[in-house]
Amino acid sequence: MIKRNIKVLVVEDSLSTRSMIRSIIEDMGEEYNVFEAQNGFEALKILPTENFKLIVTDINMPDINGLELINFLRTTPRYKNTPVIIVSTEKTEKDIQRGLALGAEAYITKPFKPEELQNTINRVLNR
């Protein structure tokens, strides 16, 4: 039996984008186990419950935004080294720059092709 041991947290407030990202990641192999959070609040609740190998987050979300989440991850010892991929729009270039400055590993802009996300994930996880 394959262990579903690559746990990924997807933080995104749009239901359809979220489920689309989930299925793209699940297509990468059975070892991927995707968890969903629809905003920063939920992400903060789920984070301590699992050992995530990767976090994929949107930036523009109400209340706690992606940047604030990244800052939290980078300043908390437990999540300090958990890679983060930003999924955002090319419009928010300034936001993406800030996200990378805060310590996100990579970004990808919407709309994207499934392979783009998969390649980015492979790149981030294999290094």
């Binding site: 407030d13 749009s14 239901l15 359809s16 984008t17 689309m20 629809q38 905003n39 920063g40 609040f41 939920e42 903060l44 609740k45 301590p48 930036i59 523009n60 109400p62 209340d63 706690i64 935004n65 992606g66 940047l67 604030e68 989440l69 990244i70 800052n71 939290f72 300043t75 908390t76 010892p77 729009t89 419009k91 928010t92 300034k94 936001d95 800030r98 400055a101 805060l102 919407k110 709309p111």
Partner: protein
């Protein structure tokens, strides 16, 4: 339609409805638009763009993308929020709606796109200077999104002070506590950002720094919240205290943001619920078969404890089936408030377009109705509301000269009445001018000049196809549908429309609708040699009569029902089925008010719960039937469509009421 596509359409519609709501809020507060509304609107287009891309709607994706850019400019203060902007966005929402239903019409959207780009470039707003936030430390700025940074600048520009409020909660239930705190903070000013932190926080806890922009002083904040507060930016001079924007009356926004509504509801295609219902219907048939076997066993073997066991279990099965049925029916029910909210948007929007001030009153929004019926009646209701604003409600000067309140009112009221839900739409406008209707009807050749009609018969004429009293088709109510379409739509779900009006005082449209279409009680009747089902929802009583008791007026059969003449329709003649009834027949009294008729049938067999199935495309044209249903031991019968038979008879005979008996 594929389920993916349906999912897309329903999500897109929800987004557009929200967008419209935010746009109306903005329109109501043009002097001081709420940043939350602008941001929410931005997010609507943002999400729409995202999902249309995912589902492969390329044109829609491009269009919402361009609109998102415009909204982004607006929320970052680069484009003004004013009446032209609002109308421009309304217009584009309409275009998007159309695009979703008719994507093939929008292969080339380059003109639409350049129009938006053009609009974006129109009057530029001076971009705020950077000096104001120069004093804010990079530590704070680095986690703000561009939008939050803009809000920070705006608040500083308006002379607000910025505070950072710190709090710590246990990890287990921080979300509720934080949400409560957030709501409280929002009453004091604008909450710019919420930054979670784990630095210097005990194990199992989580800390937050909340950035608040407000006119209040540091002491006031500390006193009110009792939390450590640091001044990030202090306002330079005292400005007159004004109510913080977040305190403005925006009912519902609190609950809209609640996570609960998102996580405890599921969206299900109504077809799936119907499938469950028809399975339950089959269970009921099995139950019937078990009863039959039980009786046969008693006949063969007499009573025994084993047979009694079967009987007991069958009873339990029967109760469970009824329970299951009502549970599933409940799923189909939605509060009518959902429809009223959409009508509210229409009222606000059209009252603006026509420059008539209208106050909307809503009662009974918690009344529940079948989702399918709700969707079917929304268009007719919209049409009635538009009609009221357009034809019924007078303009300001006229109202004042009549001594009426300057602001007109439209009342939407829903309530349950037996097996029906009644929706009343009442306006306090000029009422319906029956003399005008009369002249128009003569002009159109619908009635003869010498014909004497009662008030209600005259009013009823507006339901005739192609009837409209306004000479020039107005921009609002003249959008392709007439009142005849309204009536047809309502009767297609087994309901009916009535109008009450008083000149210069009010007009009231009353829609009576069945609560559900899914499972209905029906009389199983005999007409000639045929067995049929007659929905109980359309019936008020049944009478066994002697043939001699049926009289005739002007060549039409009537029955004297408690002193009132009841026009009769022989169903066997209507369906061209020979009748073998010799002496007595049944009259089933159907319809209400001026449209009450007696349907003459041969026999009533029993009553039964039925699930109506559509006759399908092939048999769609057959008149007088609402569908088919399975009854008893796998027999299929046709279900009589009472409303359409009444309508058809009225059309043929001209009228149904008789003034002298």
């Amino acid at each position: 339609m594929s389920s993916k596509k349906e999912e897309f359409i329903s999500e897109a519609e929800e987004i557009l409805n929200n967008a419209q709501e935010y746009l109306l809020n903005l329109q109501d507060n043009l002097e001081d638009p709420l940043p939350d509304d602008i941001n929410a609107l931005f997010r609507c287009f943002h999400t729409l763009k995202g999902i249309s891309g995912l589902f492969g709607y390329e044109s829609l994706q491009k269009l919402s993308h361009t609109l998102e850019n415009l909204l982004d400019d607006i929320r970052l203060g680069k484009h003004p929020v004013n009446e032209p902007t609002i109308s421009f966005l309304f217009k584009n929402i309409d275009i998007i709606r159309n695009m979703i239903s008719n994507p093939e019409e929008y292969n080339d959207i380059s003109t639409l796109l350049s129009e938006i780009e053009e609009f974006r470039k129109s009057p530029p707003v001076d971009v705020s200077d950077e000096s104001a936030i120069a004093t804010i430390s990079e530590e704070i700025l680095k986690v703000l999104s561009e939008y939050e940074e803009h809000r920070l600048k705006e608040n500083i520009k308006k002379g607000k002070s910025i505070y950072s409020i710190k709090t710590t909660y246990p990890l287990t239930d921080f979300d509720n506590e934080l949400r409560t705190l957030t709501e409280r903070i929002k009453t004091m000013g604008e909450l710019i950002s919420t930054l979670p932190t784990s630095e210097d926080i005990p194990e199992g806890h989580i800390g937050f720094s909340l950035l608040l922009a407000t006119t209040k002083s540091e002491e006031e904040i500390k006193k009110e919240l009792g939390l450590p507060t640091t001044v990030i930016y202090a306002k330079k001079k005292e400005i007159p205290h004004r109510e913080p924007a977040a305190l403005k009356d925006t009912p519902g926004t609190g609950t809209e943001k609640s996570l609960k509504s998102v996580t405890t509801t599921v969206r299900v295609d109504i077809e799936k619920i119907d499938n469950i219902l028809s399975s339950i219907g089959e269970l009921a048939l099995i139950k019937g078969a078990i009863s039959r076997i039980e009786n046969e066993l008693i006949d063969y073997f007499g009573h025994s404890s084993l047979i009694f066991d079967v009987h007991r279990i069958n009873q339990t099965l029967s109760r469970r089936i009824v329970e299951l049925q009502s549970l599933v029916l409940e799923i189909r029910m939605v509060p009518i408030g959902q429809i009223f909210a959409r009508l509210g948007q229409i009222v606000r929007r059209y009252s603006r377009e026509t420059n008539k001030q209208v106050q909307l009153h809503i009662y009974g929004e918690e009344t529940e109705i079948d989702k399918f019926i709700a969707e079917e009646v929304i268009d007719p209701l919209m049409h009635i509301v538009r009609n009221s604003i357009d034809h019924g409600i007078e303009d300001r000067e006229e109202r004042l000269s009549k001594g009426k309140p300057e602001i007109a009112s439209i009342t939407l009221k829903a309530y349950q009445k037996g097996n029906h839900v009644v929706i009343d739409v009442t306006d306090d406008g000029r009422g319906i001018d029956t003399e005008k209707i009369r002249q128009k009807a003569i002009e159109k050749g619908l009635i003869k000049p010498e014909e004497q009609l009662t008030q209600s018969e005259l009013i009823d004429l507006i339901f005739q196809p192609g009837f409209s009293t306004k000479d020039s088709v107005s921009e609002i109510s003249g959008r392709g549908v007439g009142m005849d379409v309204v009536r047809n739509k309502i009767s297609s779900v087994g309901g009916f429309v009535e109008i009450k009006t008083e000149p210069q005082k009010f007009t009231s449209f009353s829609l009576t609708l069945p609560i559900t279409l899914a499972i209905i009680k029906a009389l199983i009747i005999e007409v000639g040699k045929y067995t049929m089902a007659l929905p109980m929802t359309s019936i008020s009583e049944t009478i066994l009569v002697d043939k001699e008791a049926i009289q005739s007026i002007e060549g039409n059969p009537v029955y004297n029902l408690r002193g009132e003449p009841l026009p009769l329709i022989y169903l066997n003649e209507y369906f061209e089925a020979s009748s073998d009834a010799e002496k007595s027949q049944y009259i089933v009294v159907a319809g209400v008010g001026s449209k009450k008729v007696g349907l003459v049938i041969d026999d009533i067999l029993r009553s039964e719960d039925i699930v109506i199935k559509s006759l399908g495309e092939y048999l769609k044209e057959i008149k007088g039937f609402a569908g088919a249903a399975e009854i008893g031991k796998h027999d299929v019968v046709l279900v009589v469509d009472v409303e359409s038979i009444i309508e058809e008879t009225i059309r043929k005979q001209g009228k149904l009421t008789y003034s002298n008996v």
